[in-house]
Amino acid sequence: MLLKELRVEFRNKQTVNTFIILSILILAAFRFAFSVAEPPLEDVAGPILWVSIFFAGMLALSPTWKREVEQGTRDGLRVAPIAPSDVYLGKLLANLIVVFALEAVVVVVFLAFFPGTSPDWPALVAMLVLGTVGFVALGNLMSAIASNLAQSEVMLPVLLVPLMLFTVVISCVGGTARAFAGATVLEVGDELRFLAAFALVYIAAGYLSIEYVLEG
């Protein structure tokens, strides 16, 4: 499942192109916006980075399940003697690999647009990893739900954003801002524990509910 997902993704390039282009555009927009006001970078670095990742990631996660519906392959998976939760985990792992790789590019572009930032790298990487796991786990499940609905591209943000705002987003933005201000892994421990808990909850929710979601 994982190998199939990665093959389809890198040949289709839909996620890669969407993520890279949109995140660079968002970063460029912030760069120009802040060239006028110039607030302290450690205050805005967290929001800028995560807004880029969340919005680009939402569009990038949308085709994960929609493509299966459009190509008629979702039923092919459903008639196979495999657990739906295995399908969810396969897609989750593939999405994580793709999004982690793309995030590395986004961070490099971010540093190019906003030079002079010196975050605590272990803390920043820990925030990125745990925040992404929670985001992708929830996004994967919501993408599966949205694929059953008309206008799934619109419905995914409608379903995903409210759930993310008060869980993953608050912790990610706060913890990342502190990492950019020099806070260490230990000092952002509360945010990391919060993100780890949400990641586990979202993975469990997807694992347990995907069978009913796939029935449409």
Binding site: K4, V8, N12, D75, G76
Partner: protein, 237 residues
């Protein structure tokens, strides 16, 4: 008499207020080539979805391979091959990769040999490394059939399998269906094509009004066609 592979009693299914299946009783025995005809909208595809465990019926009982379909349909799924309107192919994967992926899902052993043999049987070996999205409609349908049969299923469900196939491929499919049933496999086929249907069938039925309204042996073709015509005229306003 061979044991029933499909035993459906009183199967109903509605979409909202529209009742599509209104108490289907169907018995298909091991080695049968049962062809089900029916006018558009008679619920043929819905019935295939129920029989393939893709859809739960609203009521009624379904036994597959002599056992009631329980909460976990996976053991039954491993013994069923399905070819529907969609061939269940990934456009971005090659013909070989598509078959290899499904072979993994079904836990098939000696995958490479089997995939190669299957592509050869369906005359697709020369396109093995081309993406499925670049294949013609007929080739995709053949690849879909190869996918459906890859795990050597005991029950094969075919929903309009002749759609999109050229004459040669249609002949190949008919010969394959007959060969499969001689090898002990059971086939349930849904088609509009009366000629093709009778060429492969051992038993025929007609779905109308959400029920199996007519059932005949293949030797009773004249009676069946007479009754079916009357049924269709009655069913279509």
């Amino acid at each position: 008499m061979a044991e029933p592979v499909i035993l459906a009693r009183g199967i109903t299914k509605s979409y909202g207020r529209v009742r599509v299946l209104a108490g289907v009783d169907l018995e298909v025995r091991k080695g049968d080539r049962y062809v089900l005809f029916g006018p558009n909208g008679s619920g043929k595809t819905t019935l295939v979805k129920v029989l393939s465990t893709l859809m739960r019926p609203d009521s009624g009982t379904l036994e597959l391979f002599g056992a009631p379909l329980g909460d976990d349909p996976r053991p039954a799924r491993a013994r069923i091959g399905v070819l529907s309107h969609e061939p269940y192919l990934y456009d971005e994967l090659t013909a070989w990769e598509n078959l290899d992926f499904y072979a993994r899902l079904y836990g098939v052993k000696d995958r490479a040999d089997l995939v190669k043999a299957s592509l050869r049987e369906f005359e697709l070996l020369h396109r093995a490394h081309d993406r499925a999205g670049t294949l013609s409609q007929g080739m995709r349908q053949r690849l879909g059939l190869a996918r459906a049969l890859l795990h050597n299923p005991e029950l094969v469900l075919l929903d309009e399998p002749y759609a999109g196939l050229d004459l040669g491929a249609q002949e190949m499919l008919s010969e394959l269906v007959v060969r499969m049933s001689k090898g002990g496999r059971t086939v349930l086929c849904i088609t509009h094509d009366m000629q093709k249907g009778f060429s492969i069938a051992t038993r025929v039925g007609a779905l109308a009004g959400g029920r199996v309204a007519i059932e005949r042996g293949v030797e009773e073709r004249v009676d069946f066609e007479h009754d079916y015509l009357a049924l269709v005229k009655g069913a279509v306003p």
